[in-house]
């Protein structure tokens, strides 16, 4: 795509298949890298904790976009799938005693399997009906972890305490370095998640997902096994989401059902809608935007406290209303999200000062 609009002429398919071709693209990549490397040294612990939350959200949103944006299978089960990742890796590492990375890996695989199971209705249902079916998966998982029959999950406590992350003699330190050390772990995992998702969609596997989304009858007629493609999409997506869930557990060091309610599913859907459906970059923008938004609203409310005191009192309501307004605004004015807005800005500056 960039190849045609920038006047770059590739001499081999290898060079054409690169994600970046222009100097500007390499420059932005360099800038991003520097930013990611410098952040932990310039941010205080409070903002680092927000950065860490964003990294986890990026992994979850990229995962959800694989399913919803790229494969066209709407899902309201995000919170439930994150719960599977969180509970299973907490139990595997703390109660069973597996090394934490291994516990996380198993939790990811388990979430993928659970995703496939709850993806089965997707073989028959589309659109709104599938939304309801995945809503059922959310409700079922939420119900199970909340009731915790036989106290299997939390041993009667109602929540799970998770030990400080530790691996091969390395242990995350105390208050002063906690956020910074987690930043490195989460940032690297988020980058890996983004890069691997990006890779999926420049190969045949990713194209088969998009084919299912665009035209499922034609997809079958060119040899795509719809059952397999959809279930693979559920598995891959849920694996990312499970990773986000288990990281939530180990980073926040406590697992409780309140963190994985339907609100979470809707928040993540909002991220990919605002960021851009069917775009990995969009999922990243959406995760950043929707994680920062409550913070901005809170600060704004504080600043306006003296003139508009009710804003502070009604903060949760104001926040929800703003969330809703923003989602609706994006659906109406830019359904392709922040990703599209960013593309347009790039185009504008590429041709600057000429207006096309």
């Amino acid at each position: 795509m960039a190849a045609t609009s920038t006047g770059i002429h590739h001499r081999s398919y290898t060079s054409e298949l690169r994600l970046r071709a222009t100097k500007a693209e390499y420059f932005r990549l360099g800038l991003m890298t520097v930013l990611l490397l410098v952040l932990p040294f310039v941010l205080d612990n409070y903002w680092l904790s927000i950065a860490n939350t964003i990294m986890i959200a990026v992994i979850g949103a990229v995962g959800l976009n694989i399913l919803v944006g790229y494969t066209g299978q709407i899902s309201l089960g995000q919170g439930g799938f994150m719960a599977v990742g969180a509970y299973s890796s907490a139990i595997l590492s703390d109660r069973i005693g597996l090394p934490t990375p291994l516990a996380i890996l198993l939790a990811v695989l388990l979430t993928a399997a659970v995703g496939v199971f709850f993806g089965l209705p997707g073989l028959r249902l589309k659109g709104l009906y599938l939304a309801i079916a995945t809503l059922a998966s959310q409700v079922i998982i939420e119900f199970l972890v909340r009731r915790d029959y036989g106290d299997f999950l939390t041993e009667g406590l109602g929540y799970l305490n998770v030990d400080r992350f530790e691996f091969l003699g390395f242990k995350i330190g105390g208050r002063d370095v906690f956020e910074q050390q987690w930043y490195w772990i989460l940032m690297i995992l988020a980058v890996l998640a983004v890069v691997s998702a990006r890779n999926i969609f420049r190969t045949g596997l990713g194209r088969s997902f998009m084919a299912v989304r665009d035209q499922d009858i034609a997809a079958e007629a060119i040899g795509v096994n719809l059952t397999r493609a959809k279930l693979t999409a559920f598995a891959v997506s849920s694996a990312f989401v499970g990773l986000a869930g288990s990281l939530t557990a180990h980073y926040s060091e406590v697992v409780s059902w309140e963190k994985f309610t339907l609100d979470v599913s809707i928040l993540y859907l909002a991220m990919i809608i605002v960021g851009g459906l069917g775009s990995v970059a969009g999922a990243v923008y959406g995760a950043i935007f929707m994680t920062l938004l409550p913070e901005l609203i809170r600060r704004l409310a504080n600043a306006l406290e003296s003139t508009l005191p009710f804003l502070g009192d009604q903060l949760p309501a104001v926040r929800n209303a703003t969330f809703g307004a923003i989602i609706i605004a994006f659906l109406i004015f830019e359904p392709r999200g922040l990703d599209r807005i960013w593309q347009r800005m790039k185009d504008y500056f590429r041709f600057w000062p000429f207006r096309y």
Binding site: N199, G204, S208, I222, G223
Partner: protein, 302 residues
Amino acid sequence: MLTRAYQHSLRGSHLPAGQPLLEVDNVSLRFGGVKALSDISITVTEGDVHAIIGPNGAGKSSLLNCISGLYHPQEGEIRLRTAVAAGPEAAVGEAEDSGRPTGEVRTHTLTKLPPYKIARLGVARSFQNIELFAHMTVLENLMLGRHIHMKKSVLASMLWFGPARNQEIEHRHLVEEVIDLLQLQAVRNKPVGALAYGIQKRVELGRALCLQPALLLLDEPMAGMNAEEKEDMARYILDVHELAHVSVVLIEHDMNVVMDISDRVSVLDFGRLIADGTPDEVKADPAVIEAYLGAEEESDRG
């Protein structure tokens, strides 16, 4: 065009020319009370352009849908014959059949298979109402035509470097030959949704060709086109047939278009097969003249 050296054969069948490739055997298809197909038997021969003509509603698309597995006839059977490739030809996309004696002929009953398995046997098609992947580029649509020949390992895809990238490049070579054959160079990186109707039809033909089909099914590839575009499309279909030696089943309601480019013509009317033969035989058939040409001449005069 004829001088251009393509490295890949687009033909997926290894049957000797002249042998029966597809056998439609007493097929009947009903929708509730509507009999879309009544007891149809047609044999498509390897190497032919086989036209299926008939007025609108005659059951042509229904027959095609039965062959590609989208519809399931209540009665009858449709069989495809495939042969194991001999020598170097076996290299591309023949993994499933490897290890068996070359030349061995197998018969597959299509009426028992889901559409994607029929595609994997080498039956590729286009649709009467274009069914492209609208949000993807021409290139991506054509690469999807390679789907059955590609490995789809999740881990290799996530890694990109190594097998995934090599595979993309390897298949890109064949796709570029199809782009060249159908002269789609200028629109290679355009999203198909934004292209003109005639070009979309060509992309759909291209996507089917990228399968390296044993049998190419085209449902009214020239419908909705002006005379010039029709001529172009007929030219492309002939190129596909002559350069790539792909056997083609061509559906068309306009009889004049197909008579020149077909080796054999079957005529459907109200779900029944009323004639089957060479273009000259069919043209002379009184039943065809009455049911089809008569109607057309009337409408021409009117």
